[in-house]
């Protein structure tokens, strides 16, 4: 009998612990955060390296939109491939050829940051986005890091960068003096995203 009392005394706390753990691992009790969104235009540039030359192409027509809700942050950016200027019209026309611009007029980036919460106060923070880049008709994953400065009015000043590969998009690497450019391409950019009312945005 004493043995069973001891077992009961030990068993109930264990049972209680099991139930408690199960409750903690359940869905978050937090209510869904109010959706907020931002949009703006910025610049994006690519840097490709050739053993004899480094080329930088800049577009000032990059459109970016972002939505943050209880699930996290969703970002989408796009730029017309024709808008990139490397300072050499011949090279830019060649770029349009290799990215098959007629069929794929836009380079598109979609990014997700799960669990992201919008800071309550102005300040700077970093965001890592699991992303997908769509270029030349081929989508490829990328990991993008962005530095965001949240302004007092809720707007975001964003700087972002990531490394990518031309081969990920089945792009035939252009050659200069018969030597191809390197496969690695660096992407970076910046934008000012204005906070917009998510409800109005959804209606539009």
């Amino acid at each position: 009998m004493k043995r069973w009392i001891a077992v009961l005394a030990l068993g109930f706390p264990l049972l209680a612990l099991g139930e408690d753990e199960a409750a903690q691992s359940g869905p978050p009790s937090a209510e869904p955060a109010e959706a907020r969104s931002w949009q703006g235009v910025g610049t994006v540039e690519y840097v490709v390296v050739h053993p004899l030359h480094t080329v930088t192409g800049i577009s000032r027509q990059a459109e970016i939109r972002a939505v943050a809700d209880g699930a996290g942050l969703k970002v989408m950016g796009r730029a017309p491939v024709r808008s990139f200027d490397s300072g050499n019209a011949n090279r830019d026309a060649h770029m349009l050829e290799v990215v098959r611009a007629a069929q794929n007029p836009l380079v598109i980036l979609r990014g997700l940051a799960r669990g992201f919460r919008v800071p309550a106060a102005p300040g700077s923070f970093d965001v890592q986005l699991e992303s997908e880049v769509q270029l030349a008709g081929v989508a490829a994953p990328a990991r993008l890091s962005a530095q965001v400065e949240q302004l007092p009015n809720g707007d975001w000043k964003v700087r972002f960068a990531f490394d990518h590969r031309l081969s990920a998009h089945s792009i035939e690497r252009p050659k200069l003096l018969l030597v191809p450019v390197e496969d690695a391409v660096s992407i970076r950019g910046e934008a000012l995203l204005e906070a917009v009312d998510a409800k109005n945005d959804a209606k539009n």
Binding site: G11, L15, E97, A102, P105, L112
Partner: protein, 214 residues
């Protein structure tokens, strides 16, 4: 009698003792799996925040074909251009040796370099014609933005080289004619001008090639 009751109660309790946490663990793992599934779902990039459709256009086979043809022709243009540059350098070296053979104090006047120089010169002219033809006849599937850039420098240098090359051939012929007709002074002055334009043409060709590096 008491012993079997306690044994049954003990068995039930033991079952409860292990089953409940196990149920909790099973629930946890099910929730973890659900979270994983949710994560995978969250990595679905099939969303459009612009809401206006960012779909790809229909492929234009003719345009794609022209782009491929242009790429092939411009690759060949690069090879032909570098070959032309090499041949031009060879022609200039042989021309200088030919000039020295005729006019320097130590020159033997043997004419040993005359034929190799002529062969190299005509080869250069032929390679240059092929190079220019490949560039001029290449289709242009995507219009280029106007403006002054490295491509403009390349074209200006190449057109300068065309003029230089044409002048070279003409001056070479005049020099040969002067040599055959025994006009020594005329031969020397024309040969000197021919030599100068040769160096200038080589410089222009090198400029055309190097323009792409800037």
């Amino acid at each position: 009698m008491r012993a079997p009751i306690f044994r049954r109660l003990g068995a039930l309790f033991a079952a409860a003792l292990f089953a409940l946490p196990a149920r909790g663990l099973a629930r946890e793992s099910a929730e973890a799996a659900a979270t994983d599934r949710e994560s995978e779902t969250n990595l679905d990039f099939d969303f459009d925040l612009f809401g206006d459709g960012t779909k790809r256009s229909e492929e234009d086979p003719a345009l794609a074909g022209r782009a491929r043809l242009r790429r092939g022709m411009l690759q060949a243009h690069q090879i032909a251009g570098l070959t032309t540059l090499g041949l031009m350098a060879t022609t200039v070296v042989l021309g200088q040796l030919n000039f020295d053979d005729h006019f320097s104090a130590s020159g033997a006047g043997s004419g040993a370099y005359s034929t190799p120089h002529r062969i190299a010169a005509y080869s250069t002219a032929a390679a240059f014609a092929v190079t220019g033809g490949l560039a001029l006849l290449a289709p242009v599937p995507y219009e280029k933005a106007p403006g002054f850039d490295a491509g403009t420098v390349h074209k200006l240098a190449a057109f300068g080289a065309v003029a230089g090359m044409a002048g070279q051939v003409a001056l070479g012929m005049i020099a040969g004619d002067a040599l055959r007709s025994g006009q020594a002074r005329r031969f020397e002055s024309v040969a000197d001008l021919h030599r100068f334009t040769g160096y200038a043409t080589l410089t222009l060709l090198a400029t055309a090639a190097a323009a792409w590096l800037f």
